[in-house]
Amino acid sequence: MTTQTIPLTRSLGRPNFLSGWRALWAVIKREWVIFLRYPSWFISLFIWPIIFPLSYVMTARALSGKDGIGMAQFQAATGLHDYTGYIAIGTIIWMWQNVVLWNIGFSLRNEQLRGTLESNWLSPTWRFSYLLGSSVPQLISMLMFLTVSAIEFVLVFGVQFQGSLWLTLLVLLAAIPSVYGLGFAFASLVITAKEANAFVFLVRGLVMIFCGITFPVSILPDWMRPIANWLPQTYIIHAIRSSSLSTDGFPAIAGDLKILAIFGIFWLTFGYLVFNWMEHRARRTGAIGQY
C-alpha cells in the first residue's frame, strides 16, 4: 500500500459569515440545554427578588420611624415618597450586574475548568461566538428575572409603578450594551487571571457603594460623586426609577439614555478589544489550557 502526502497550503476549515452564525447558534443551544438541566435557577428566580431587597426595605422602614419622622427627609432627598420601589429597583439592577459578572464573566473560565476550552479554540470557528453565545440564554433568563421581580414587587411589597412600561423597556434596551460589554471584558480578564473572585467582589462592590442602589447619589460626599458619574449603573438605576416610578416621561430620562448610549458603545468595543487581546496573548503564551 502506498501513501500519498498532499501539501496543505491552507486550512481545511472554510470560515465564512454563515459558518460563524451556525457556530453561534450551536453555542446558544448548548448553553440553553445546560441552563435547563440544572433547575435550581427556578427557585432563585422567584425567591431572590423578594429576599434581597427585603433587608434594605426593612431597614428603611426602621429608619423612617414609627411616626414617619425620617420620611420627610427621604422625600426631600429623592423626590419620591415610595422608598420600597426606590430600593427594589436599585437592588435589582445590582443583582443583574452581579449575575452577569458571575455567569458571563466566568463562562470561558468554566469551560477551561471543564477542559473543553482548548479543543473548542482549535476548531475553525469565530471565537467570539463562545462568549456571545453564552450571553444569549443568560439575557433571556435575566429578562425573565426582571419580569418576575416587577410582578413580585407589586404583589409582595405593594410597589406602584406609575410610569411608562415602554420607557422602562427602552432604558433596559439602552442598558444591555453597557452591562454585557463589561461582562465580555471581564470574561477575558478572568481567563487571564484565573482565580478572579476578588475582581467580581471589587466591581460589584463599586456598584453597591457608588451607584445609589438604596440612596440618592446626591447624598455621597463630594469626592465620591465623580466616581459615581463614571459608572453606567448610576444612570441605569436613575433612568429606570424615573421611567417606572414617576410620570415625568421621556424628558426625565433623555439625558440618561444619551449617556448610556455612549457607555454602551464604549463597553462593547472595549469588551471586544480585550477579548481579542486575550485571545492573541493566550495563544502566544499557551495560557488557554492552564488552570
Partner: protein, 284 residues
Amino acid sequence: METNFVLFQPTLVTQFRALAAIVRKDWKQYWRYPLNAVSTVLQPVIWLAPVYFMGKAFSINGQALGFAQYSGTSDYMSFLILGAVLGNFVNAVFWGMGYALKNDMDAGVMESNWLTPVPRLLILIGRSLTNLSVTAVTSFGMLIVCRFVFGFHPTGDVLKAVMAIIPMLIGLYGFGFAFAGLVLIMREANTLVDMSAFLVQVFSGADFPVTILPKWLLPIALILPLTYGLDAARGLLLKTNTLLSIGTEVILLVVFMFVMLWLGSWIFYRVERRVRMLGTLGQH
C-alpha cells in the same frame, strides 16, 4: 496467620492529635490565600455602605431619630455593624461548615479521610475550631475597619456581651453539623446554602430591629435563637431595647446550645450512615 485485633489503638491522645492535625491543616490552607481574609474583612464593609448612605437620607441633622423609636438608639451604624459580625459567623457556618465536606469531595480526599480511624464528628469539630478562630480574627479586623470608616461606638460591657454570645456561637456550630450532613446527601447545594444563610441573617435581625417585621413574619424571627443572641449583645453593648430581659435571652441561648449540639450530631450521624449505605460518599 489470623489476627483478632486491629492495628490502630484510638485513645484520647491519638484523637487529640488528629484534632490538632485537622485544625493545623485548615488554618494553613486558609492563610495560604490571604486575599480571602482581606475579602472577608472588606466584604461586610461594602455591604454596609448602602445602608450607611441610606441612613443619611433618613436622618435629621445627622440623627436617625426614626430608628431610635424602634431600637432605642440613633446609632444605627453600630447596630448594623454588630449584625454584620453575626452575619460573618452565619456565613462561616453555612459556607465553611456546610461546604467543608463538599470541598473534600471535590478535592477527592473525602473517602480516604473517612477510612481513617478518627470519629467522623471529630473531623467536623476540628474544622469548626479553625472556622471559628478565623472568623473571630477577620471579624475583629472588620470591626477595626468599620470603626474608621463608619464609626463604631460600643458604650456597654464588652466582656459580658462576648460571654453572652459564646453559647449562641457554639449552638450555631452544632447546627452546622446538621447542615454539613444535608450538603453531604444533596452534594450540589449552592442555592440552598446561599439562600439559607441570607434568610437566617435577615430574620435574626442583622440589619434591622425585628419588631418592625409584619406580624405574619415576626414568628419566624422569634423562633430563631440567633435573634436573641444578637438582641442580647446589642442590649449589652449599645443599650438598645431588648425583646426579653437579657438574663432570659442568655438562658434561651444556653438551652439552644445543648439542643443544637445534640440534634446536629444526631442528624449528621443519621445522614452519614445513609450516605455510606447508598455508596455516594465519593460522588460529586
